[in-house]
């Protein structure tokens, strides 16, 4: 384990800046705050048990680390401490289940209509809540039935001499939002790229945030094995899932302590999708044949997106679209934090955390919102009652690709990522 993370606690001067930003400790007394649970309690966490288990109420949004002026890795310390708590207690079935999106995806996809009925049936959800502990009102996506991996197999790629880019789509795109993946491919191809979609599995992030580090490491290594050969060829890897992208850029190393050459080369090749496209624009290589999109859309940069430290490239890109007005929202967190808000005992907290974001979105009067992260989109759709889309969907429409692109995309773009919560 690299102990840059734990050692950073000595830089803590107890200034309370992290406490004044923590969205969870402001929403519930059950979490005493990042300073207390992090650098302070960490001093007492030796080989023995953690001094208290309140750290499990940390949602892992990571805002504390971003705002800390002394470079203390507060969220990372807390993430490791949470894993220690669960290592002793044993991870409950629910957390093992929701932390494995590929397992859920493979189970649900073949029986999508039935699974979707069950996911959105109140009686079923009430039973699920009392038996497993997933809150009956928590936002759930719908299985698409045909995964993005399967759809992309029938896709005829651009000619072989075009510059190539590797697409890491993540589980959300694969099982629930394959239309987003198709828009990503269409926009990249529109800009002259050949898109390589390697076979891929979960990045291990949900396992990490649910405290199962050994399993998380297995998933990271399996994924890295598939991406590293492309990275070694010097190809960029893009991801439309900001949290999964951040896992490969930084967290697998910093939190899970994976210190292998293959991961390093993948980390160095990872781009958030909007970061990649904005980078193209900076070099004058992005097509700007955008059509008018007369919409006003509030935009929420999710916590994990801000963890990249890349600014807000989605806003930079969408500013290029004629007549499209984006409203930059300034509430930090939507509350869902991956699987946190699904849990029976944490759902109310996650909704309280998100309430200001929801009301700010409602106040804009728009029935559409944009956000880079899939679980955050599902939470926003649920909490604010709007359609929440990835920024790529607005770019896709502005390029006119919903009219000119392959069959199936039109319907997908129109349907968008709405969720019945």
């Amino acid at each position: 384990m690299n102990d840059v993370i734990r050692d950073s606690l000595d830089h803590c001067v107890k200034c309370t800046i992290c406490e004044s930003f923590c969205p969870v400790s402001q929403a519930t007394p059950l979490f005493p705050g990042p300073k207390y649970a992090g650098p302070q309690a960490e001093r007492y966490r030796g080989a023995g048990p953690s001094p208290d288990s309140s750290v499990d109420y940390c949602s892992g949004c990571g805002i504390c680390t971003q705002v800390c002026p002394q470079d203390v890795k507060i969220a990372e310390i807390n993430s490791r401490a949470r894993a220690k708590v669960w290592e002793r207690r044993g991870i409950p079935l629910r957390n093992q289940l929701i932390a494995r999106p590929t397992v859920i995806g493979r189970l649900g996809t073949p029986v999508a209509p039935l699974a979707n009925w069950a996911l959105h049936n109140r009686a079923v959800r009430t039973v699920v809540q009392s038996v497993i502990g997933i809150h009956r009102d928590a936002p759930m996506p719908s299985f698409a039935g045909k995964t993005f991996q399967r759809r992309s197999r029938n896709h005829h790629a651009a000619p072989g001499d075009a510059p190539a880019v590797v697409y890491f789509h993540g589980c959300g795109t694969n099982y629930y939002e394959p239309h987003v993946g198709e828009m990503v491919v269409a926009v990249l191809e529109h800009n002259g790229f050949r898109v390589i979609v390697p076979e891929q599995d979960c990045c291990g992030l949900p396992l990490q945030s649910n405290g199962n580090f050994p399993a998380a490491r297995t998933y990271v290594r399996r994924l890295v094995d598939r991406l590293a050969p492309h990275a070694r060829e010097g190809l960029p890897i893009v991801s439309n899932s900001t949290s999964c992208g951040l896992m490969l850029k930084r967290e697998a190393h910093e939190i899970l302590g994976i210190d292998e050459e293959d991961l390093k080369i993948v980390s160095g090749s990872m781009f958030d999708l909007c970061e990649f496209l904005a980078g193209l624009h900076e070099r004058g290589a992005l097509r700007t044949d955008f059509q008018s999109l007369p919409l006003t859309v509030p935009y929420h940069a999710p916590c994990q997106q801000r963890g990249h430290g890349i600014g807000k490239p989605a806003l930079d890109l969408l500013a290029l679209v004629p007549d499209l007005k984006m409203i930059e929202l300034d509430v930090d967190c939507c509350g869902i934090a991956g699987t946190y808000g699904l849990k029976k005992e944490k759902y109310e907290i996650s909704m309280t955390v998100g309430s200001r974001l929801f009301s700010d979105i409602t106040a804009t009067g728009s029935d559409l919102a944009a956000c880079d992260s899939e679980t955050c989109r599902w939470q926003i759709a649920h909490g604010a009652g709007v359609t929440a889309v990835h920024p790529i969907e607005l770019l896709f429409r502005a390029y006119g690709l919903d009219r000119t692109s392959r069959q199936g995309l039109v319907a997908a773009a129109m349907r968008s990522a709405s969720v019945d919560g």
Binding site: C15, S20, C68, P69, R250, H281, H308, G311
Partner: protein, 427 residues
């Protein structure tokens, strides 16, 4: 995306420079390791509070004496009319926080320890705490809120040196109903925003204070609508009410940060926390690009100008290593005010005049860091705030004043050549 100016640091100095540049049409990126001192300091604007041990009554009137005693002081580069202009500009940008005061006279506001603090400007919600006219004060705490101690304030205040007699007493209220868990300033402020605790507070205060008393409450009257809450309290009680700063976090500072950050976002500026600026690539004495470390690694941003507002020792803009070497951490700039290793770096008493306290960069009148020969290190690099050497802000009570004045002046220096170029083109 390319930016006109990169501002390093998101404290008052960085926010001031960035906002001034943004509203003049520049595209600005703020890259910061984290949040600055806004969230810790009481959000008063202290231009000059002490000359030696003597309290300053008029910052404007004492400026000449300050510069005579501290010839390297950052204010040396700020003409009097520009200092005034920067504060007028700041007051307008702070908007609904309603800053009051002037350069001509310091208010004396009680601190969290009950010490009279000389400040040129203060948020409207604090201004009735001015001790200069004397009178009867009551300080109100809340049981369980551990960051505010009304008895300590009251007892210290009656011992303070004041020209008019002051009486002060303390009142402790039961915690507001409905709350659970730890009562932090942030949690109470959130409840003022969401649950409207002002009715509760007014109800408690009406019977426990006298009509001729001025009522000091902890500065937790909300983040989003404190000025309204405060106004409503004064109207309901028909008494003077004022906020007193608490131990950190500073809710008035959070309000100020959010007001400035909101204005920056509205103007299209980008604020990125949790990243580190680690160096520059220069051409012909100009910075052409800066290196920023983010989650991926090091990314180079081509840039027109740079404002270094990285703070002093406390914020990591300056560093003293175990070999006794002091350095500027971002661009490794030459420093002034660093005692040579043969001399003592620290005085024995914590509150003594510390030899290292004046360390920082020296600048020219355009706030550009200069080398020993007085030449700018880079022609498009400007410095603002605590990184500028020659001052002892915590002794002088001049920190926020220096930050606003130098942040504003750095922005003006960046804008000036453009203004010249435009007028030449017109000609």
């Amino acid at each position: 995306m390319s930016y006109d100016t990169l501002v390093v640091g998101a404290g008052i100095a960085g926010l001031t420079a960035a906002l001034r540049l943004t509203e003049q049409g520049q595209r600005v990126l703020i890259a910061a390791r984290g949040v600055g001192a806004t969230h810790l300091a009481p959000a008063t604007i202290d231009v000059l509070g002490y000359l030696g041990d003597a309290r300053v009554e008029s910052p404007a009137g004492s400026m000449k004496a300050l510069l005579a005693a501290s010839p390297d002081h950052p204010y040396r580069h700020i003409p009097a009319d520009q200092l005034a202009a920067s504060l007028t500009w700041f007051t307008a940008r702070a908007g609904t926080l309603g800053y009051v005061g002037s350069l001509e006279e310091n208010m004396l506001l009680p601190t969290a320890l009950g010490v009279p603090r000389p400040s040129a400007l203060a948020p409207q919600t604090m201004s009735a705490g001015d001790l200069r006219a004397g009178g009867r004060f009551v300080f109100v705490g809340v049981k369980g809120f551990k960051d505010f101690h009304p008895a300590l304030i009251a007892e210290n205040l009656v011992r303070a040196e004041l020209s008019q007699p002051v009486t002060a007493r303390a009142v402790e209220l039961e915690a507001p109903p409905g709350g659970l868990g730890d009562l932090s300033g942030r949690v109470i402020a959130g409840r003022f925003d969401d649950d409207d605790l002002s009715h509760w507070l007014a109800g408690e205060l009406v019977n426990r204070t006298e009509p001729d008393e001025r009522i000091g409450v902890p500065a937790v009257l909300g983040v989003r609508s404190a000025t309204e809450t405060w106004g409503e309290l004064e109207r309901t009680l028909e008494r003077k009410v004022f906020e007193v700063s608490t131990l950190p976090p500073s809710i008035p500072g959070i309000r100020l940060y959010e007001a400035m950050a909101r204005a920056l976002r509205a103007g299209g500026a980008r604020i990125v926390h949790g990243v580190r600026v680690v160096g520059a690539h220069a051409n012909d004495g100009r910075i052409a690009s800066v290196d920023v470390v983010n989650a991926t690694g090091t990314v180079s941003h081509p840039i027109g100008s740079v404002v270094l507002a990285s703070g002093g020792f406390a914020s990591g803009g300056l560093e003293l290593d175990s070999f006794g070497v002091t350095r500027e951490t971002v661009f490794d700039l030459p420093l002034i005010g660093v005692p040579t290793t043969e001399r003592v770096r620290f005085a024995p008493g914590y509150f003594d005049a510390q030899p290292l306290a004046r360390a920082g960069v020296a600048t020219d009148d355009l706030l550009r860091p200069v080398d020993a020969a007085g030449r700018p290190v880079y022609t498009n690099l400007h410095a603002a705030g605590a990184i500028v050497g020659g001052a002892v802000p915590w002794k002088e009570m001049s920190g926020t004043g220096i930050s606003i004045a130098t942040g504003y002046a750095a922005a003006e220096a960046i804008l000036a050549p453009a203004t010249l170029a435009v007028s030449e083109a017109v000609r």
